[in-house]
Amino acid sequence: MAIITTHGLSKVYQAGKVPVHALRDVDLSIEEGEFTSIVGPSGSGKTTLLNQLGGLDRPSSGEVWVDGCNISALKDSQLIDYRLRHIGFIFQSYNLLPVFTAAENVAFILLLQGEKKDRIRQRVSELLTEVGLGDRMDARPRELSGGQQQRVAVARALASRPRFILADEPTANLDSQSAMKLLDIMEKMNREHRMTFIFSTHDQRVIERARRVIRMVDGAIESDQVQQPEPHQA
């Protein structure tokens, strides 16, 4: 069943007086439980597409439907609430709150959702244990490696039990070992919890692990292939 559908999605930016077509008439459908990579050279529109799917930006034309809701038509305040309750985000540079511990970073999104404190404590502990950081719950981001910080970001994205997770070049700042470990965790979440992951990436290691690869060139989808992911050699 498709959880995300786009119809004729376009985005045009003004660079001075010159219009830049970042997305051109993109029609796309993402099924529940997918593990999908959006790939392409810089400027091909990967991040712009991800921003449209996540409701971080509005299209110039076209629509984004999530679970039967046209999120392009939502008001700003409704869109913020929609992101809080339905979408998980993982950013390239982790974007954790430096003044909070790992546990507080994960708990924060649940507090914004108005969850009860005892349930938050339990869920935070479960998630950080699942991403292999059960013993670093009280560490601040500056006390964690890049890979560990990105795992906290994954736990944060999962905390609110979103319908899908958008990850913008999640391994771009990680070494090979950390990148593989992160991919293992995300694959496990996808497999065990049927969590839908959509990545934008240049990283060949990520592309090889994806089950669907959408290739973009000049703001348009050039190819859309389902593939057999290569098994990971631990």
Partner: protein
Amino acid sequence: MTTLMLLAWRNVWRNPARSAVLLLAIALGLWAGLLMVAVSQGMLVQRFERLIEQEFSHLQVHHPQFLTEREVQDHLPDVAALQHWLQQQPELREHTLRVLVDGMIQSPALTAGVEIRGVDPQRERRVSQLDTTLNQGKYLDAALRNPILMGARLAEKLRVRPGQRVVLTFQDTRQELVSASFTLSGTFTSLSRAEEESRVYVPAEVLSAYLADQAIWHQLAVLLQHPDQGSAVAARLQQAFPQVQALAWLELSPELRFLTEMGDLLTWILIGVILLALAFGLLNTLLMATFERTHELGMLLAIGMNKRRVFGLITLESLLITASGALLGVLLALLNINWLAREGLDLSRFGGAALAEFGYDTLIVPVLGSDELLAVALLVVLTALLAALYPAWKALQLNPAQAVRN
């Protein structure tokens, strides 16, 4: 709210050096401002109290023509009835009657014009504290025949000491010139140079006997429980005794009215300047903190923190740092003001003599009312909120998609 508060508090201390400098600036600014307010209020309050005690009381009653004509025959009618009415008023604290006449004083060395005040020695000391200002001799010594008190400067000019005689010359109610010999009982000092050079006090019964066949009084001076009661009691008295003129201190002395109004104005000008400096300091720091955190604020908006909460976060940061600095500043100021209130602030080494020439004490006891303190606290909070508005508004303008990639 607790999480937002925790996040705001930790954000404040993210750059400890910058926050500490701002906090200290707020604390020192408030400390200096409150101290200046307290000292200037203290000076004005002391001047006000002195003028009330020595000159105007809270309310005075005269013959309707006396203040303009100052004729000896314009004395108060129905004095007994006036006194009886006053005794019934709950606001009454003290009152005294005075005989007032202008005349000449003569010693072997000099002749000078003086204002002669005939007073009831016991009542006068309770109203004007005259006995506490003596620097030489005794207070209207009953053992002397015709005792007289004069200002120390006048005694110096006349070159007389306690126990020596002077002659007073004045007009009686029949417009005849009368001269009488008085013995100097003591000399007093005053913050008013004019008073110390030109005023003398004698027993009212002595002066009255020279002026008329029966006891006459020109002034009824009244002290009330509170200065603010002056106008109301004066109005009631005026209604009960239309044949006299009853005036509260506000009407008797434009200087006193100016002093109280000026005191309030000065306080608010000082506080306003401090708060303006505080607002710009805060605005600068909050703007810097907001621009430095564009990425992070964008992330918060992206993951679903609504604009109300982002606005609240920046406002809370402003409030927390301002409240911490203000608390420290108020605490410092209160400790300092309490210490100075016990010891007094001696300005005699810093041009205090010039102050004395204008009738101000050189030993200042600072005063800070709880009303002023509460108003400052509220204004500081308001300033913190206002200073946070622009940075918070800037944060709300962020496009999360751009901010997280910058």
